[in-house]
Subunit: 318 residues, 2 copies
């Protein structure tokens, strides 16, 4: 298995990316081969310092970098030698089995959708966030920002994608799906939530448990929470800000520590045909390691095939 990693993306690249690779390789099975995409000259001394096992990686040189604030489509077009462009090119041509970058999020989305394409039947790809829970387990919330306006059918698809991710990557046997809403009973909420509820309820692929409210987001009673990307993004950033408060105020708590974005590193772009993971711009070594591990799990579990099979079912139902 070959995993491609953009070594130039993120605020602390390439140094932290190299450290992340080292952390990953220290504990990884030998069948995982990493394809490190970046500026050879910048990488060489860092790789040498990190004493990476040469049999475990290949460096693919990229002479350009897409900046964090560049226009995604324009940058991808004008910088074919950028690490992101090369990464998608390798993924498209099956030279790698997954591609990871903590660089320009927009460019990652555009590349994922246009060079990798969506799985047949998927209307829109989605990104998610891990929800730490007090019992040590994790829930999943999606969408968290790329689908600000949604139709009910979009939310149903997010629920299916999230359930499969929860099952095959997070190890939840039969993920309980909840609809983020502002009341418990069916019929509550805005027009979108009201229209989505019956669709989730009747969908045979889902274990739908009903509405969940803002107070339930971090509870163990629900595994996958769906909402449009506007509310999801506000929830994500608000949770991050609570962690920042805890750090700033020197609150020592094991559970609050788990809200550290560093631990999760990035989000898969669910719905595209190959494993693509977008990292947080502030990703450091631990985050890079975790993203590589997630990519490995996505490949090993054949998540893309599971999604493909489910969306064949979706097509049959419609």
């Amino acid at each position: 298995m070959r995993i491609g990693l953009d070594m130039m993306g993120g605020d602390y690249a390439p140094a932290e990316a190299v450290k992340g690779v080292r952390l990953f390789l220290d504990n990884a099975a030998p069948e995982v081969h990493l394809v490190l995409i970046g500026d050879e000259q910048a990488l060489a001394p860092l790789i040498s310092d990190a004493r990476l096992d040469q049999s475990r990686y290949t460096v693919v040189h990229s002479s350009q970098v897409i900046g964090m604030n560049e226009h995604p489509t324009k940058a991808l077009k004008e910088k074919p030698q950028s690490s992101i462009s090369i990464g998608f090119h390798l993924l498209q041509n099956k030279k790698v089995d997954a591609f990871i970058s903590a660089g320009n999020t927009g460019a990652m989305m555009v590349g994922a959708i246009y060079s990798i394409k969506l799985i047949p039947g998927v209307q829109r790809p989605t990104i998610s966030t891990i929800l730490p829970r007090e019992d040590g387990s994790n829930g999943l919330l999606l969408d968290v920002g790329i689908n600000a306006d949604c139709k009910p059918e979009n939310l149903v698809q997010f629920a299916i994608l999230g359930s499969l991710y929860s099952q095959y990557i997070m190890g939840t046997a039969t993920p309980r799906v909840g609809l983020l809403n502002i009341g418990e009973e069916e019929g509550k909420g805005n027009l979108l939530a009201q229209a989505t509820y019956p669709l989730l309820k009747e969908n045979a692929l889902l274990n739908f448990i009903g509405n969940v409210e803002g107070r339930d987001i971090f509870k163990e009673t629900v595994d996958v929470i769906v909402c449009e990307g506007f509310t999801g993004n506000v929830v994500l950033k608000m949770a991050e800000s609570f962690h920042d408060v805890a750090v700033r105020r020197n609150i020592k708590d094991e559970y609050m520590d788990r809200f550290d974005h560093e631990q999760y590193g990035g989000t898969p772009v669910l719905g595209v045909a190959e494993p693509v993971i977008i990292g947080h711009g502030i990703a450091r070594a631990e985050a890079f390691k975790n993203m590589i591990r997630t990519a490995q799990q996505m490949i090993e579990s054949k998540l893309m095939d599971k999604i493909r099979e489910s969306f064949v079912e979706v097509a049959k139902e419609n």
Copy 2:
């Protein structure tokens, strides 16, 4: 000034309501007279135990109670002798200058809108929540639940109502208004946010500072944050759940303590013609005291007149 208080509303009424009255009267100016609406027989021993100064209050007997789960419109119609019905009747007939209840929220909303009416020009009333900030001050977020689907003009009106409340009740000289969004720049967000931004920007009554994100909600850089009631309600309940986590995990922190709903007690229904305050169902003594104090401030500051004047301006601009 006469403030009407529903003594039968809320999970811990009437005992906690009486305690709240006592707390309020201990420090209140003599010109505030409280009108306590409730079952005389239930109240008598509690009032006697609390040793309330008889010159400071009047009991108005109510023989019915609207339960927390009753259908609002139906209950108001079928229970004219309920404490909520009587409260609105007194307010409508200027026998009290404000009405407060921690009872059935729906009945309070219906009563406010249909028996008290909206201030001319206001399209929809709104409810808000206080946002504690680390420097000790408070921000305001609205709407937090009664307007799940909104048009851009509704959000502009919430901004005006919130600014006036922030200025006259919370003491913020020139409240900075932010639009809750999922990106910093104009043009970001869902269709509603995109359409609302230019309206807020051009409104002469507002000190609009642009978009704010989930991470900015508790920052000191913005005083009034507007959003539709779906996202606002999720934010409100999620913040409450973080406080619950802090309590459950025995996290001792002065700032986290300020997320205790008890401290604020309730929310005014902004946009209706008289001061109406709806309490949290779990309101206890401190919350009742704070709601009475807020009502007093709303009367003293002539907030309703300020809102009326602003909406005359709004009408002129349209």
